[in-house]
Symmetry: C2
Subunit: 512 residues, 2 copies
């Protein structure tokens, strides 16, 4: 079965298989006995959605849907629903929908509503058969505790919901398809609960599989990046947390709820109570480095890495560290998977400029890292220019842990100090913090995130401080980055969009 371009699927049973496998092993390795576990928290990518029956059975495990892509989990990075997102954006703007301001003026093709509308249009029989469409994170919690409770964090950031305004109106939804009118009532069942709540207690079957105590409180699901904020010990305004992984999420809190364009989502109490939480993101970061290192490293360099006893990531970090700021003469636009913030446009693509016959692989690699740092700076400036202060950066996630060069380049490019979460699994720690709050003090946990963080989350001793001379060089390169950002991002040069049209036509794909 050929997939649409921009499709990214996962199978939901893998999530359960992983739990049964990893959790008992982790408890054994950590020498933790089940009585010590007072609460369970989980974080998940979002918007990662799947269609299920009334009892939560994923459609893709039913025989008739096994090979139907729309019955599988559509991963956050699935961008096939761009036409639907475009339509929703146009109409929302024309009809002045109040939710637009909460999403920086633009909805993303990654989200629940565009993905569900595409399913309705492209695979109506699957849409019909689905009793519910649900975030995978909420589905996992449901599996564990038997209760369909939806997370306010996921509904707020990815489901166009807010506590005061609810979901988009049925009038709005009706415009796209008569059956979409009742999408919310039909498919988005289940109560929405805030972070830190317990959705329910662990089911006996799962308690046995995981080696835990039945009834242990299971916390409402959190988006992985948002969990990383807690895991990075941030509970204040002005501290932007970068959850650096295959993609990057940028989260910062502000006391005032100021509307801001080019931000992916603004949710009141979205992370810590009392603050408006702003989310932005880069759709590909680590994925770009992986793309390059997996496909474009020649055998001689692989051999040298082996001889140095290093994996290819560590070896290229070493090589690229020797390349001085600005000396590669290269610049990239980090849009290998489109641009999430500040443009929210999946039609954009990666660009590299400045290539010469003397350009070396490690120079390309460094340019890729630099481009993601410039992308982060563009996001930071988008906040500060609209009155949301960003004084310091905190970083968590695999890249922050492993790649000192990357962290230093981010400090040099942004001109800001970066602190790194002590835990190499900041998101998982954040989920654990949510688990401890879901348990509450009476079970030995905490009654607020602030209390939990004070005890459970830390930063590393090593703090990255901007090198002023590199910062001066990077300011110049960033000026060029912004020129290209504006030319290609505003379609003054619409080549990226045109190439995509030509590509889709050449591949016989009519996008609609």
């Amino acid at each position: 079965m050929a997939l649409e371009p921009e499709t990214a699927l996962q199978h939901p049973m893998d999530y359960l298989a992983v739990l049964s496998d990893i959790v008992p092993q982790a408890m054994k390795d950590g020498k933790v006995c089940k009585e010590e576990i007072i609460g369970i928290g989980s974080d998940f990518t979002a918007s990662t959605v799947l269609p299920v029956t009334a009892d939560g059975t994923p459609l893709c495990i039913l025989d008739e849907f096994k090979v139907k892509p729309f019955a599988w989990v559509k991963l956050w990075k699935d961008h096939a629903s761009q036409p639907e997102a475009d339509e929703m954006n146009t109409l929302a703007e024309e009809t002045n929908q109040p939710f637009l301001a909460r999403y920086g003026g633009k909805l993303s093709s990654e989200w629940m509503f565009p993905k569900s509308l595409r399913m309705l249009r492209k695979a109506p029989h699957i849409y019909e058969k689905a009793d519910k469409i649900i975030e995978a994170g909420d589905w996992l919690v449901w599996q564990l505790c038997g209760k369909e409770v939806r997370s306010s964090c996921q509904a707020g950031y990815k489901g166009m919901w807010s506590k005061s305004e609810g979901y988009p109106s049925s009038e709005f939804l009706n415009t796209f398809h008569p059956k979409f009118k009742s999408f919310v009532e039909d498919k988005l069942t289940g109560e929405i609960h805030p972070l830190g709540n317990a959705a329910g207690g662990l089911l006996p079957g799962w308690a046995e599989k995981l080696g835990m105590v039945a009834g242990t409180p299971v916390a409402v699901s959190i988006i992985d990046a948002h969990a990383a904020v807690l895991g990075s010990s941030v509970a204040d305004a002005g501290k932007m947390v970068l959850a650096l992984g295959t993609s990057t999420c940028h989260l910062v809190m502000n006391e005032e709820n100021i509307p801001a364009s080019g931000v992916a989502g603004i949710v009141e109490d979205g992370i810590a109570p009392g603050f408006a939480a702003y989310e932005s993101g880069q759709s590909a970061v680590g994925d770009i480095f992986l793309w390059f290192l997996r496909n474009y490293v020649n055998p001689a360099l692989e051999e040298k890495a082996k001889q140095a006893g290093k994996d290819i990531f560590a070896y290229f970090e070493e090589l690229a560290t020797k390349v001085h700021a600005g000396s590669n003469g290269l610049l990239a636009l980090d849009w290998w998977n489109g641009n999430r913030s500040t443009l929210m446009d999946a039609n954009l693509s990666g660009l590299m400029i400045g290539l010469t016959l003397a350009t070396r692989p490690e120079e390309v690699y460094r340019a890729l890292i630099e481009s993601t740092a410039f992308g982060t700076l563009a996001i930071i400036e988008n906040h500060t220019q609209q009155g949301i202060a960003i004084d310091e950066l905190y970083a968590g996630g695999g890249l922050a842990e492993k790649n000192a060069l990357l962290m230093q380049i981010y400090a040099d490019v942004t001109g800001r100090t970066i602190k790194v979460a002590a835990s190499s699994q900041a998101a998982a720690l954040g989920a654990a913090i949510a688990g401890s709050v879901a348990a509450g003090s009476e079970r030995g946990g905490y009654d607020s995130f602030k209390e939990a963080i004070a005890v459970m989350a830390h930063i590393k001793e090593k703090i990255y401080i901007p090198n002023e001379s590199n910062h001066t060089v990077y300011k110049k390169v960033y000026t060029e980055y912004k020129k290209l950002y504006e030319a290609f991002g505003s379609y003054t040069l619409d080549t990226m969009k045109k190439l995509r049209e030509i590509r889709d036509e050449a591949n016989g794909i009519i996008k609609n």
Copy 2:
């Protein structure tokens, strides 16, 4: 000794060593006895220049200059003299120098005058010591026959000389440096002879080394690409010959001598008598493919090539053939070594756009080939828009011989039929044709190029005919190519130039 960026050097004694080694072997392999050789022709890259003493001794073999870069041969692709070329262009334009029209309005940093001026400024002691500065092709002929005879082809295309107007005036040259005023009289000694003339007879010492007869006529040197025109059997107007190699030369004759901007050189009788010959070029073509295939092919693909019993070039041709026109969604500007025609700007650099996480190496490779085809189409259009007809393409050189995919892409992109020189060494055959004309009919050769070509040069049976459906797709991609060409080539977006400035500053190089 650190080299300036953009420097490319060769050692002149390598040229002689190669002759002594290769010529006797080739005669042996070809079962040719010395009496059968009636004339000697040689072709050479240009402008490839070196400083020598009065007797022709290269300065770089003298002890005091052995490690001095400016004493070595500066290869055509050496672009370090861009500042000098820029200055000359500015002044020539301001003072309306007549030679400008012959060079499409712009002199190149690759040529004799900018390279010599840079030597005078950066290494004045070497300039002083040089009794002559000479094209390597002319120097080689001098070595063989003991006579310093300069080629009208090299002087015309690369030395700012024309039969009717001579060299630039000493007033013009004086502006750049007082000692440059008498550059022509001081350094450019030796008579200028037209193509097909004999410069002299083979010296006895060389006759012995090569296993030839002393006194055999040695033809005046020809530029390699121009020789390829003869070797491709072209002696008419409207047939553009592409000499496809590490770089590409584009040569076409026209009955009328029409001035044309963006052309690298226009020389009356520059190839065949009675025609104005137009030269354009792309500074890197095969070099770009080499850059990619040598540095960016991963071990798994190398292994697969091995298993298929193919070298990496043949294997990537096979992979890239399966990529349909337009389906890679990629586009490159083929400026890895700057742009020779139509912009004559060495500050430009390579660009690739449309990259995604799904982009595969063979798609990148195909985009690189396509970009050089688009560059050739831009050159063709620059001619036709100025009234110089181009009806058919002829191709010679290593790439034309070996890479059927490349030839088909060129036909599809340009919408023109391409004939390929039968000889895999079209330039060498052209040189041999010049040798036979230098010998003349009385020694068993020919009295004109036309007669010689009729007998000696042929085209292959396989003719590349444009695929109309691919041509339609490529027209759309070319529209995008031209958009980027104009934006970056006109400095509407001056990022390439700025990146180069930042790079040079980061590397501690002050360009002047």
